[in-house]
């Protein structure tokens, strides 16, 4: 099944590049759905047939939370704050893609020594997951809109989740569920805050939230 792991990790990497290059929030949210599908499938490709019931449950919950509920919350915040697209990010789209390529290289570099300490089957997953984390961080620091930063946070969280995917077969289900629940509530609270920022300031550009400093 190792080949399928590689295929879906490749899917994860490609969706990251799409996120780095798009300015329309609707397109970004669509890409998040694709990413959620890849994340759901990766743990299944790592497990042996027949899949254990707990793993199936986890996949189902992951797909529901990351593929349905979170995009729904994001779209709702988009409507409430009335934003369509990211305008003039701190780092332009071409530069973002080029930075992304550099980050992909970095992810492979970091994963090299760690790979030796893990079992087979994770050869592509480790750099793929690291790349997702780095992409998420890049989106958070390079975009102006609060909503885009939330997408960045989710991409980073997806990368971390991909790390966990390799362990999903052994770890207690409760922890994974707790993680998903926390992420869901986090986005919910962020959505409320975005709505309030929008009402208070008439915009959600975080670089203009800059009164508090020393």
């Amino acid at each position: 099944m190792a080949i399928w792991t590689d295929v879906f990790v490749l899917g994860l990497v490609l969706t990251n590049f799409r996120l780095l290059s798009s300015s329309r929030l609707a397109a970004m949210i669509e890409t998040m759905v694709l990413q959620a599908i890849a994340l759901t499938v990766i743990p299944l490709t790592l497990a042996d047939h027949p899949w254990p019931l707990r793993l199936m449950t986890l996949s189902l919950v992951t797909l529901t939370v990351k593929g349905v509920l979170l995009p729904w919350l994001l779209r709702r915040s988009m409507r409430a704050a009335d934003v369509q697209r990211e305008i003039e990010p701190f780092i332009g789209y071409t530069v973002s893609i080029l930075t992304g390529i550099a980050l992909l290289g970095l992810a492979f570099l970091i994963a090299q020594p760690l790979k030796a300490a893990t079992g087979p089957g994770l050869a592509s997953l480790l750099p793929g997951a690291l790349f997702s984390i780095l992409t998420g961080l890049l989106i958070i620091v390079s975009r102006r809109k609060a909503l885009t930063q939330v997408v960045g946070y989710l991409v980073m969280e997806n990368g971390i989740y991909a790390f966990g995917a390799a362990l999903a077969v052994k770890e207690p289900l409760l922890v994974e569920m707790g993680v998903l629940l926390d992420v869901f509530v986090a986005v919910f609270v962020m959505g409320i805050t975005i709505y309030q920022i929008n009402r208070e300031f008439d915009h959600i550009d975080t670089d203009r939230l800059s009164e508090l400093k020393d």
């Binding site: 300490a117 893990t118 946070y153 052994k170 409760l174 922890v175 926390d182 609270v189 939230l209 009164e211």
Partner: protein
């Protein structure tokens, strides 16, 4: 039995959202806090043995942080009940920019406060690092609305920074947890006892990476420099009792996450690696705090940077280990009590003078004698002067550093403490003794006492606690602190 510590505030907190009677809601807050204190006391007096492999359990380190949380929350609950009586339904005039704003609905505020207590208690009793992570993340989510209680743009900015920076930080800690699982080649669960007993067989490379991630992740939440950037904003914009809880209890809880990681690394024989990292971040936090306290004009921000300094001291103490580790445990307790008293005083000064700038508060001794006395005592305590508990704990940490021959660390530690003492004195002394200036008439509400009992009693009680710990240390408490330090990975 143990779970009642979480269940009591959680149930009352959830119920508070739906109760429309103000009196009943405030009674529930006091009830939740009282119940929590009682439940912690029962568990402290008759501790159940920690079962290996259990999800929750109470060891000495957890009990120390839990007890501090419970005491501080009790003080805050009394203060909040009075505070809401004064603030409810009032349109508040912004002190600095002169525009009006509303507060959040009170039901949400009380509900979130109680849920905040429940999640912090869960952090203290978690034996599973995964559960601990879930609980720490939950504390962020229930405390974010508390920071934004005053509905105006500066609190919103602080709330957004807090949410975003802490969420990213906590995500890094999750990565650290997964790295720990990788270190066990997927054969070891994230249960603390399991990890400690099998520590020798864990992969050192993954283990080091895991600790680094836990340190960066929970360190963000704890306010270690350079990941501290959310902290001064959140502490200065939140209502004062929320600042009290953030500074006195939440930072400790995040520290507990780092301590759990530290104990695993110690058991695996990598204590030097984790210890040196803790010492480094400790000294860095102290220096950065010193830089920002010098010339600080906003007294609430000054307290926030002082929290960063003290988190640095905690990290330094545990990193040095031995006697310093015990000092750090005592320091954690004393810092929380003192900072609680100081933030409550700051809230009172802010209410009466209507200004966060220290230059606008003058000769408080004349108009607010009790507040000014407590504020002055708190300043002496927080800078480590005798006879307060922080003097003993800072001295113990210094002694530990000297005993282990860390002269350079000791010198840096003393230099930072000295600079901060002078810088804070320059802010605090003129506030208390400066030339007379009556508080602005517009902000003080005539129908309420300037120094109400609901403020004086909690603040003074916290102060008495710190004095007690400084004057007399019962051997039982010292033994308890030593055990806590041992479990936290004292070398």
């Amino acid at each position: 039995m143990l779970l009642s510590i979480v269940a009591i505030p959680a149930v009352l907190g959830a119920a508070a959202f739906f109760i429309s009677s103000r009196r009943l809601r405030r009674a529930m807050l006091l009830l939740g806090s009282g119940g929590h204190v009682a439940a912690v006391a029962v568990n402290a007096v008759r501790p159940a043995a920690v079962e290996p492999g259990a999800w929750v359990g109470l060891d000495a380190t957890g009990l120390l942080f839990l007890a501090v949380t419970s005491i501080l929350f009790a003080a805050v609950a009394v203060y909040t009940a009075g505070y809401l009586g004064r603030e409810s339904g009032r349109i508040v005039n912004d002190a600095e920019e002169g525009f009006a704003f509303y507060n959040w609905p009170e039901a949400k505020f009380i509900g979130c406060l109680l849920l905040f207590l429940a999640t912090m208690s869960l952090v203290c009793i978690s034996r599973d690092l995964g559960l601990l992570w879930v609980a720490v993340e939950a504390t962020t989510l229930v405390s974010a609305p508390l920071i934004g209680f005053h509905r105006h743009h500066r609190s919103l900015e602080a709330t957004w920074k807090y949410l975003m920076i802490c969420s990213v930080g906590i995500a890094m800690a999750l990565l650290g947890n997964f790295f720990l699982a990788y270190a066990g080649h997927g054969q070891v669960h994230l249960n603390l006892d399991d990890l400690l007993s099998k520590a020798a067989g864990l992969d050192p490379l993954w283990l080091k990476a895991a600790f680094l991630m836990l340190l960066v992740g929970y360190g963000t939440k704890m306010g270690l420099a350079p990941m501290h950037t959310w902290l001064p904003d959140a502490h200065s914009e939140a209502p004062s009792m929320v600042s009290t809880l953030l500074s006195g209890t939440l930072l400790n809880c995040a520290f507990l996450g780092i301590l759990r990681g530290n104990s695993v690394l110690n058991a695996a024989g990598l204590g030097t690696f984790s210890g040196e990292l803790l010492v480094f971040f400790g000294l860095l936090s102290m220096s950065i705090a010193a830089v920002f306290i010098v010339g600080q004009v906003d007294y609430k921000r000054m307290l926030a940077y002082s929290s960063i300094e003290h988190m640095g001291i905690l990290s330094l103490g545990v990193g040095l280990g031995g006697l310093s580790g015990v000092g750090a445990m005592l320091h954690a307790a004393c810092h929380s009590l003192t900072k609680g008293m100081l933030f409550l005083c700051a809230g009172q000064l802010l209410h009466v003078y209507g200004a966060k700038t220290a230059a606008d508060v003058r000769h408080a001794l004349h108009s607010l004698p009790i507040t000014a006395f407590l504020w002055m005592a708190g300043f002496l305590a927080i800078t480590g002067s005798p006879p307060f508990g922080l003097f003993i704990s800072e001295l113990t940490i210094l002694k530990g550093a000297l005993e282990s021959g860390r002269w350079a660390v000791a010198a840096g530690y003393l230099a930072a403490l000295g600079i901060i003492f002078i810088a804070m004195a320059r802010v605090v002394l003129p506030m208390v003794f400066g030339s007379t200036r009556e508080p602005a008439a517009t902000t003080g509400d005539a129908s309420y006492a300037r120094e109400p009992r609901w403020f004086v009693i909690p603040a003074a009680s916290l102060g008495i606690g710190v004095v007690f710990l400084g004057l007399y240390m019962p051997p039982a408490i010292w033994d308890f602190l030593s055990r806590a330090a041992q479990l936290a990975g004292g070398r």
